[in-house]
């Protein structure tokens, strides 16, 4: 196939204050090709693409569209050059219908629903979409919203499409569908850029891969001539072992028994329904599910932070010391002698106080211990220093506000604090969200270490590949119900993916 250059970037630089987000980037995007833009979090992928879509202005450098130098000052300009971006956080108006969202901002068009519908149908037929134009956005699923975003961009005549982490919120099956559509677009001669940090997707879909590292352009390689190991090295800058060790604990034992757990939120919507499982000491129990299937509520109800309507949660300290956790507040759970640690999803909201330093945050767990009316900082200070050294936290001092640390370091502080108490039950929600590959593997190792110490680890994750490699068993949630518990060593991604979307009973272990 003949490839034609659609966009050429020459020496693009973008600074935010003193931070250089993009540093002299040269990149070429061709028509009839799918280019993957690969890089760790904070490597400048989104910033670079936002300069193409008119959200940011480059400080230096030049953008050429079809060989002509252009300046893209606003998203409107971008559409004029037929560049369309599908943002990671969808840009849709919730209370509008699909059709209203599609024509938003188009000046030359009347609100003629018939005409809009027929044009939308034509686009749908051409690429294999399916959409109801009169459906309101708030009634749509995540994948429908994404479809709408893509149609919106195509409706405006874009032939250079940029997708920012499109698969982050999709199930494996939905991802497959999206990839078919992207291939149709490629066959139609459109230029497609897909931003991602999932290597297996890069290998599956793209023709070429461009890699960024810390704002710098590392290079472009043809997908057929590379492999995940090589790409990781380009991304990280040095060799990384991409295997997660999964040793077997000598003899797993029952630790936490959840029976018939039902939770209802304050609006009366059922968040968890009749959830039963047993978490074992010496095992990592993974929890998989589409975002919002009840993962958060499950962890919070175990930790005593979410009201339980029915059911029981029993922590088995030993044969004759079993503690019923339902109805206990976090402090009562601790007083009852249960060593529970909780790494919440919202690190700076629920886990740490952003404007305090490491020492202050350590004290949040030990404030009850002091007897005097003044603060005793020695213990927490010592712990903060230990975590600082052991987990290689990058911070100028233990008093530096955690809010101003990078996401990975914040997570290390939180995980470090939680595991320092040697918990017998460790609950983690999206422990590696937003972390780069190196830090992610460091966290995986920490969790595995806790497991080998004999604690029961519950790990809520998004990336199915990691869940399959890290966990011993996987509990799959679907709309608040357990659709099955599978052995992570024997199951496949497809099986888990299917269970995430349907309640079909899978074989129990």
């Amino acid at each position: 196939m003949q490839t034609k250059c659609a966009i050429e970037m020459k020496g693009l630089t973008k600074r935010f204050g003193t931070v250089v987000a993009n540093d002299g980037i040269d990149l070429q995007i061709n028509r009839g090709e799918i280019l993957s833009l690969l890089g760790e979090n904070g490597s400048g992928k989104t910033t670079l693409m936002n300069m193409l879509s008119g959200i940011y202005q480059p400080d230096e450098g030049q953008i050429l569209v079809d060989g002509e130098p252009v300046s893209i000052r606003s998203p409107k300009d971008a559409y004029a050059y037929r560049i369309g971006m599908i943002h990671q956080h969808y840009k849709l108006v919730d209370v509008f219908t699909a059709a209203q969202n599609i024509v938003l901002g188009l000046n030359d068009e009347k609100l003629d629903l018939k005409q809009i519908n027929s044009k939308v149908q034509e686009i749908c037929k051409r690429y294999g979409f399916n959409i109801e134009p009169s459906k309101k956005v708030y009634d749509m699923s995540v994948s429908q919203k994404q479809t709408l975003e893509i149609i919106k961009v195509l409706y405006r005549g874009a032939d250079i499409l940029i997708l920012d982490e499109p698969t982050a919120v999709l199930t494996p099956q939905e991802t497959e569908k999206l990839f078919v559509i992207l291939k149709n677009m490629k066959a139609d001669g459109k230029a497609v850029v897909i931003i991602t940090h999932k290597l297996h997707e890069v290998m599956a879909i793209s023709d070429k891969v461009a890699v960024l590292r810390k704002g710098k352009y590392i290079g472009t390689v043809e997908t057929s001539k590379t492999n995940p190991q090589m790409l990781t090295e380009m991304m990280v800058g040095h060799a990384v072992a991409l295997n997660i060790e999964r040793p077997k604990y000598r003899k797993p034992f029952d630790k936490l028994r959840v029976e018939g757990l039902t939770c209802v939120d304050h609006e009366g919507i059922c968040k968890l329904q009749d959830v039963s499982f047993t978490a074992r000491g010496g095992e990592i129990l993974g929890v998989a599910g589409i975002a919002g299937s009840g993962q958060k509520e499950l962890l919070e109800s175990i930790a005593g932070l979410y009201p339980v309507k029915e059911g029981s949660i029993t922590c088995i300290e030993c044969e004759d010391h079993q503690v019923q956790l339902v109805g206990l507040a976090p402090r009562q759970i601790r007083d009852a002698g249960v060593g529970m640690a909780f790494v919440p999803e919202d690190r700076l909201g629920m886990g740490l106080v952003g404007s305090m330093g490491m020492t202050g945050n350590m004290m949040l767990r030990s404030w009850k211990q002091g007897r005097s009316m003044f603060l005793d900082k020695r213990g927490p200070e010592k712990l903060a220093r230990e975590i600082w050294e052991k987990l290689e936290v990058v911070t100028p001092s233990t008093e530096f506000p955690v809010r101003r640390m990078s996401g990975g370091n914040v997570q290390k502080v939180l995980v470090g604090r939680e595991i320092s108490r040697e918990p017998s039950v460790l609950l983690t929600a999206y422990a590696v969200r937003g972390l780069d590959i190196n830090t992610s593997y460091a966290i995986y190792n920490l969790l595995t270490y806790q497991k080998m110490r004999g604690s029961a680890v519950i790990y809520i994750g998004e990336d199915l590949d990691v869940l399959l490699e890290l966990c011993d068993r996987i509990l799959v949630l679907c709309a608040g119900k357990v659709s099955g518990i599978v052995d992570a060593r024997k199951t496949t991604k497809e099986e888990v993916g299917l269970m995430m979307t349907s309640l079909k009973e899978a074989k129990n272990d």
């Binding site: 409107k76 971006m85 840009k91 108006v93 209370v95 509008f96 609100l111």
Partner: protein
């Protein structure tokens, strides 16, 4: 019966004041700007609107001055005063991205001060008393409807015996409904208030929509202040009567769920609650109890509206938030 009709007429008169205030704020909040300065804006509208009519009459003489022209001048001066005050608010919140609540509260205090100062300045410089002639007072407070309509028993009094401002306000509410929900520009404005980043990505000029909606909305609110001074207060500068009316308008915006058509009956209802202590006196109930009724209703509405679960009946999603394209 006659008590009830009198109550309705008085409710409509006061309701008209609230309707302008509310409609202006509905337009402003639809763009995502929460302008808490309505109180100050209405004070300025009252003072400048009266000043416009007063100095017009002084210039051409009481005999030669015409009612319609005085009304137009009063509306224009009030509108311009409100628009100017809202322009300050817009510049601070849209261009400089200052906190909307703080700016609104500051404007409220500032506008009240400017209004009081202007009114008192007129009073002092005119020898202690600012009032329009009886001729113009009539033009401001009488109905423009033909007498055969007004003379229909009961209905005539209830529907056709109101000031010209009431009919302008109703027409404005209907017009604003069509603009917001039937026109393309109105849809874009709602998009700006719901999700500015979406509207921006779709190529809509966010600043222009926010500026225009806020400035025009402020102008409309200010007309309400003028209507109060020229109808309820009898065309005499009154530095106390307006206090609290702007805050009531802010509450009414929530009460009518950001929909202009609801503002018509909502304003009249609140108007009735405001004047009930004068018209529907029941022994042993102190007037203070009556006077808190509008606020009690507002609290009840706030409680109910926070409980309802309908996505369509929520405030504009980005209300109170400033938009900055490069923010991450």
């Amino acid at each position: 019966m006659s008590t009830l009709i009198a109550l309705i007429v008085a409710a409509v008169t006061f309701g008209t004041v609230l309707m302008f205030g509310t409609l202006g704020e509905v337009l402003t909040e639809r763009s995502g700007n929460m302008n808490l300065g309505v109180e100050g804006i209405m004070y300025m509208g009252g003072a400048f609107g009266l000043a416009g009519a007063f100095y017009y009459e002084k210039l051409v003489g009481p005999a030669a001055s015409s009612g319609p022209i005085a009304i137009i001048i009063a509306i224009l001066s009030a509108f311009l005063a409100g628009a100017a005050a809202s322009a300050i608010y817009s510049f601070l919140t849209i261009t400089l991205r200052a906190n909307q609540n703080v700016t609104g509260l500051a404007l409220s205090i500032f506008g009240t001060g400017v209004g009081q100062f202007t009114g008192e300045f007129m009073r002092v410089s005119e020898g202690g008393f600012v009032a329009l002639s009886n001729n113009l007072k009539g033009a401001f407070s009488q109905s423009i409807m033909p007498s055969f309509l007004r003379n229909i028993p009961i209905i005539g009094k209830m529907l056709f015996d109101h000031t010209v401002f009431f009919y302008i306000a109703v027409a404005l509410a209907v017009g604003m409904h069509f603009f917001l929900f039937k026109s393309k520009r109105g849809m874009y404005l709602r998009a700006v208030g719901e999700s500015p980043s979406t509207a921006d990505a779709a190529g809509i000029n966010i600043s222009r929509y926010k500026y225009l909606a806020t400035i025009i909305g402020g102008g409309i609110s200010a007309i309400g202040g003028m209507v109060y001074i020229t109808t309820t207060a009898g065309c005499v500068w009154n530095h106390e009567g307006l206090s609290g009316v702007g805050w009531l308008a802010v509450a009414l915006v929530i009460f009518c769920m950001w929909k202009p058509l609801n503002a018509i009956w909502g304003s009249v209802l609140f108007g009735a609650l405001m004047i009930m202590y004068l018209r529907l006196v029941i022994k042993f109930i102190p007037t203070e109890i009556y006077k808190i009724l509008p606020y009690v209703v507002t609290v009840i509405v706030l409680v109910l509206s926070s409980m309802r679960n309908n996505k369509e009946k929520q405030p504009p999603a980005s209300l109170g938030l400033n938009y900055f394209r490069e923010e991450r």
